[in-house]
Each structure stands twice: as C-alpha cells, then as structure tokens.
Assembly symmetry: C2
Homo-oligomer: 92 residues x 2
C-alpha cells in the first residue's frame, strides 16, 4: 500500500547571509510609503506531493531532495511540514 503525502517546504536564507532581494523589496515598500517595515527576508515555499509507503520513507526522500536540489545548504536553511492527504491501494 502506498500513501500520498503533501510536504510544505520552507527554504530560507540563513540569518547570517545577506538577502539582496529582501533589501530591495524593503526599499520598494519604503518608497511606497511603508516606512514601518523593519526587515524583509525572501525565501521559497515549495509544495511537493509524494507517494511513499510510510512517513519515515517520505521524510527521508524529502530531506535528500532538499539537500540535493531544493535548497542550497551553504546559504539556506530548510524545514518542512508533512501531512498525509490520501491513502491509496494498488500499484504505482
């Protein structure tokens, strides 16, 4: 039996790393009159739907995907929430 999981992945620039996109957006917001914005940090939000026999295997795959492709571990952190969306029987 295979299960379907939805992973909500957050990839953020490490706090010690400069985020030029965030600085640019903050500057733009200031020009629009929002001078009450203290900081802007821009990251990625990725939703991955994955078929897996169980949750530990899904988590293992997702960690590998994040480290190898979705995040750059040198300058980014990642974390994800995992929810089971549907159980499926049959062959994939």
């Amino acid at each position: 039996m295979q299960r379907k999981y939805l992973a909500k992945i957050f990839v953020t620039v490490r706090p010690s790393v400069l985020d030029p996109a965030g600085v640019a957006v903050q500057s733009g917001l200031k020009q629009m009159g929002y001078d009450n914005v203290e900081q802007v940090r821009i990251g990625k939000y990725i939703e991955v739907t994955i078929i897996s026999p169980d949750e530990p295997k899904a988590r293992q795959d997702l960690n590998q995907m994040c480290e190898q492709m979705l995040a750059n571990p040198v300058i980014e952190n990642y974390r994800f929430d995992l929810i089971e969306v549907e159980s499926q029987t049959g062959v994939f």
Copy 2:
C-alpha cells in the same frame, strides 16, 4: 505605544495557473531517481517585520503590501500568519 509583528507570508501560484518552475523541478527530481513525486509547486515565503500600533493596522498594511508589491493577484494567492514578537515603547 508601537508593537513589533512578524508576518510569515505565503505567495502561491493559483491552482489553475501553470507553474513552469515547479514542472522543471519535478522533472529534475525524476532524473535524480525520485519518480514518486507527483507534483511540485513553487511559491514564495516572505518574512516581514513591521512596526504597528495594533494588529488590525498591521494586517491592513500587510494586505496592501501583498496586493501592491509582494504578490501578483492575477496569478497568485497569498496568505499570512501574524505574530507579535516584541512590544516597544518610545518614538519610531
């Protein structure tokens, strides 16, 4: 008295809109051997620290920022969680 809020903003491509970046990442993951990935959707995760007198005002500002700059309402949805991180007295 001014309060400091942290908004965690999620900007996602509307379900009816094609997400080419997500399709490309899914294809890349498949080439790496992850053929159990059914869908990938890529959005933005933005953290904004904002100074505001109260929560309703902070929410109002953030909605305007999202609609005017952070998201493209034609093809993207947004939502945010707001938490108070610190209370501050004094003049800003």
